[in-house]
Amino acid sequence: MVNIDELEWVENAIGRKVPKSLHGQELHPYIGPFKHRPTKDHKYGPKLGYVADQTSELVSSLSMAIDKVGLKDNMTISFHHHFRNGDHVMNMVLEEIEKKGIKNLILAPSSTFPCQEETIIRCVKNGTIASIEGGSARGEIGRMVSSGNYLEHPMKIRSHGGRVRAIEAGDIKIDVAFIGAPSADELGNLNGVIGPSACGTINFSFVDARFADNVIAITDHLVEYPNFPMSISQELVDYIVVVDKIGDPNRIASGELKITSSPTRLKIAKDAVRIADLLGYVKDGMSFQAGAGGISLAFTDFLHDLMKEKKVVAKWAQGGTTKFLVDMLKDGTVRKLITGQAFDIAAIESMRDDPKDHVDLPIGAYANIHGKGCTVNKLDIVVLGASEVDTSFNVNTATLSSGLIAEPVGGHSDTAAGASLCIITVPLFRGRYPVIVEDCTTVVTPGETVDVIVTERGIAINPMRKDLLEKLEKVKVPRDLRICTIKELQEMAYNITGGKVEPNWGDKIVALIEYRDGTIIDTVRNVLPKYYDDAIFVDKEDLDVERREN
C-alpha cells in the first residue's frame, strides 16, 4: 500500500486532494462532470481468434478451460454480479486457480457479494489476488480493503458506466473473463433468461466478452444449438464449461420484493414523488429510473398511483427492474422497459415473455460517458440513495461516515449526471450518524449533478438549479412539504445527532474513487480501529437494500 507522504497531491474541481500519479501511472484530477475527454484515440483491442473448422467449444472441466486459455501470474480476471448473493461461479473459479498456484491476479468483477467474501479474502491473504479493480466493495471485503493491510495496490472504485469506460480504454485489460451463463450452447451463444439459474440479463458481461482476450462461459444449462436469444454470441466466447450449479436461484432473484413499512421511509418516498410532480416532471412522455431499494420501490409505487390518477404515460423506464416496474409496463403506465439488472422473478419472466417492450442493453449503452450515446442522458427523473450528502450536494455512496468502505456505488454518478432531475432520498440521520453533513467523508457523485435532496424533515434544492427554484415559486407548495436549504437540513441533522464524527484515518491510500470519465474525484485512506464499532450503531434497516443489490 502507498503511504500518503510518498505521493504528490493536487486539488481537484471539488476541492479534494488527489494524487498526481500512482505507481508511475499518471492520474487525472476530476475537473467537472462533462469536461474530461478520452485520453486515447482508439479503444483497446482484444486478441484475434481462429475458428476455421471448430464445431464445439465445450471443454470437460473448469480446470482444463483455465489451462487452455493459459492463465498465468499477474493476469486480470473478471466476473459479472448478476447472480448477486447466489453466485457460485466466482468461488468455483478462484478455488480452481488457487489449486493451480497461480498468484498475483487482478480481480476485476462488476461487483462482489457476501457469498464471495470468504473466498476472496482467503485468496488475497494467500497471494492469489494482488489487487481489486472494480465495482465496489462491501461487508468483509470492504473492511479488508479499508484495513490497508492486505492488498498491494489501492482498489479502484468505479461506477457501472465507469467500469465500461475503463475496459474500453484499456485501463482494465481483462485476460480472462469468466461468464456465468444461465444457458449456453456448444459454441457459446449465451443468455440470462433461460435455465434454472436464470437471472434475466447478463449485460454486465457484454463489455467483458467483447474486450477480454479470453472468454470462458460457465453454465449449468446446456441447450441445443443455436441458443436464442444470443445475448452474448459465439463470436466472443472461447470455451464453455458445464457444471452442476452456477448459482442458487433463491438468492439470485427475490421471490417477492416488499415495499418498506417504515413510515419515515414511506414519507420520504411519497415526498419525492410530490416534489417531482410540483417541479413539473410527472408528465406525459416522461422517463425515469428507480431501483429496488426500500425507498425506491415505494417511490415507484407512489409514482405509479399518481401517474394513473393524472392519466400520464411514461415513454420508458429503466433500472434494476422489479415487479413494480413490470406492473407499470403491463397496465400501460410505462410503454418500454430497459433492464440493467433483474431483481425479482417477475422481472425475469417479463424479460423472457415480453421481449418486444422489455429489453436489456449493454451497460456501456446505459452509462458510458466515453461511448457514443447512453440512456442515462435521456432520463427525466432518477431517484437514488446515499450514505452521506454534504452542503455542496456532493454525495457519498462508497464509505460510511467512519471511512469504512461499505457500500457499492452502482450507477449512482452515471445516472445523476445524465438525468435532468436527480433526486436523492435519504433519512436525515441513521442511528447516531448525520446523513446530511458539512463535508462528505468520501465523494462519489459531484454536487453539480445532484438536484434535490428529500429527507423526512425537509427538502433541499440545489441552488445551481435556478430553474427549479423559480418553478417552485410559481406553484403552491403544501404546508407539510418543507422546503429548506441544504445548510438548514445539515444543522437539523447535527442538532439531533450531535454532529459528525471524523474517521480515524491512517496514512495509507486504500482506494481511489474514479469518476465515470476516468478522473479521480476522491481517495479513501485506511481506517484505524477505534474504541467503537460503527456497524453496531447503524440501523441495518436504514442501509438501502438497493445499494446492497448493485
Binding site: 413510515p263 419515515t264 414511506l266 414519507k267 423526512e456 404546508r479
Partner: protein
C-alpha cells in the same frame, strides 16, 4: 376550527418513535403513558415524555398531547405533575366514568399552571369513555369542564366491559359510538373515535372510518403513521362537496345582495341545515389546506363540461 381528524398514539417508552412522531401529518399526537407502557416502565416513560415535550420540535400545527394513566392508579397524578409545561397542548384522560374524573384533572392542571406560571386554561382535556358506566354518563362528562374539547371512545376496553365481541362491523359498540356523538354534540365539543387495531388492513380501516364519519365523528385515533392518510382521506370533504359548498355560499351571498329572503341553488332551496353544512365543509377544507375553487372557476369549468347538454350550471 381545530382539525382533529387523526390522533396518532406514540408509545411513551420508545425513544426512537417520539422525535419523528410529528412528521407524518397527524393533526394530534398522543404520547402514551397508559396502555402502551407496562407497569415496570411507567416511571421511565413519564420521564422520557416530559423531557421530549421540552426538547422535541414536533412541527407546526400539530397538537401535542399526552395520554396519562387514570387517576385511580398510582401513576396518574404523577403523570400530570411531570408533563404539564408550555409545550403541552392537551391531556387525554382514560377510563373516565364520571364528571369527577375530569374535574379532578382540571383542578390539578389549573393548580400546576398557576405554580409554573403558565397561562391558565390553555391545556385542553379530552375524556375517553371505555366502560358501560362511562358511556351512560357521557353527556354529564362532556359538559363538566371548560377545558374539555372532545370525548372519545375506547373500543377494546368497552367491548370487554360489555362482554361483547370485537368484529369488523363494530356491532358491540355501535350504540355507545352513537351516544358519544350525541353527548359531544349536545355539549358542543368534538367526538373522536377509537383505534383500528389491524394497521396493515387499510380497507378495513377505511370502512370503519367511513362508518364513524357518517355517524358524525370528527376524527379517529390511530396506532400507526401509515393509517393517517386513509383517515384524512375519509374525513376530508370531497372535491364535489367543496364545489357544492362554494355554490351554496355564493347563492346565499347573491340572495343577500338582492335583499331576498329566499335562497335558491338551481331548483333546490337552500335552507339552514344546508347553509350550515356548507359552512362546515368550507371550514374543514380551509383547515386541511384543500384546494377551494372560486365560484368563477367553478362556473368556467361547468360551462366547458356541460356545453351542448343544455343543462347549464347551478345545480349539482
Amino acid at each position: 376550527m381545530k382539525l382533529r381528524r387523526s390522533r396518532l398514539y406514540v408509545p411513551g417508552n420508545t425513544p426512537k418513535m417520539i422525535p419523528p412522531a410529528g412528521l407524518y401529518g397527524a393533526d394530534v399526537i398522543s404520547l402514551d403513558l397508559e396502555d402502551a407502557v407496562g407497569p415496570d416502565f411507567k416511571v421511565d416513560a413519564r420521564m422520557l415524555v416530559s423531557e421530549a415535550l421540552k426538547i422535541v420540535d414536533f412541527g407546526p400545527g400539530v397538537e401535542v398531547t399526552v395520554r396519562i394513566n387514570p387517576l385511580s392508579t398510582e401513576w396518574g397524578r404523577w403523570d400530570i405533575r411531570q408533563i404539564v409545561c408550555n409545550k403541552l397542548d392537551g391531556i387525554y384522560i382514560p377510563k373516565v366514568e364520571s364528571p369527577e374524573d375530569v374535574i379532578l384533572v382540571d383542578e390539578l392542571v389549573t393548580d400546576l399552571e398557576e405554580k409554573k406560571g403558565l397561562p391558565i386554561g390553555r391545556i385542553k382535556l379530552f375524556a375517553t369513555m371505555e366502560t358501560a358506566k362511562g358511556i351512560l354518563n357521557s353527556y354529564e362528562i362532556a359538559r363538566c369542564s371548560k377545558r374539555l374539547e372532545g370525548i372519545t371512545i375506547g373500543g377494546e376496553d368497552l367491548t370487554a366491559d360489555l362482554g361483547g365481541e370485537r368484529s369488523s362491523d363494530g356491532i358491540a359498540i355501535h350504540t355507545a359510538r352513537q351516544l358519544i356523538v350525541l353527548a359531544a354534540r349536545a355539549a358542543g365539543i368534538q367526538a373522536i373515535d377509537t383505534v383500528y387495531a389491524d394497521f396493515r388492513d387499510m380497507e378495513g380501516l377505511r370502512k370503519e372510518t367511513e362508518l364513524v364519519r357518517k355517524m358524525g365523528y370528527d376524527g379517529k385515533a390511530c396506532i400507526h403513521p401509515n393509517q393517517i392518510e386513509v383517515i384524512h382521506e375519509v374525513f376530508n370533504p370531497t372535491p364535489d362537496e367543496i364545489v357544492h359548498a362554494v355554490k351554496v355560499t355564493n347563492a346565499i351571498e347573491e340572495a343577500r345582495k338582492r335583499g331576498s329572503g329566499v335562497i335558491a341553488l338551481g331548483k333546490k332551496m337552500v335552507d339552514r341545515p344546508i347553509a350550515l353544512r356548507a359552512e362546515k365543509v368550507l371550514a374543514r377544507a380551509h383547515a386541511a389546506e384543500l384546494p377551494i375553487p372560486t365560484i368563477e372557476e367553478i362556473k368556467a369549468i361547468e360551462e366547458t363540461t356541460s356545453s351542448g347538454t343544455g343543462k347549464g350550471g347551478g345545480d349539482d
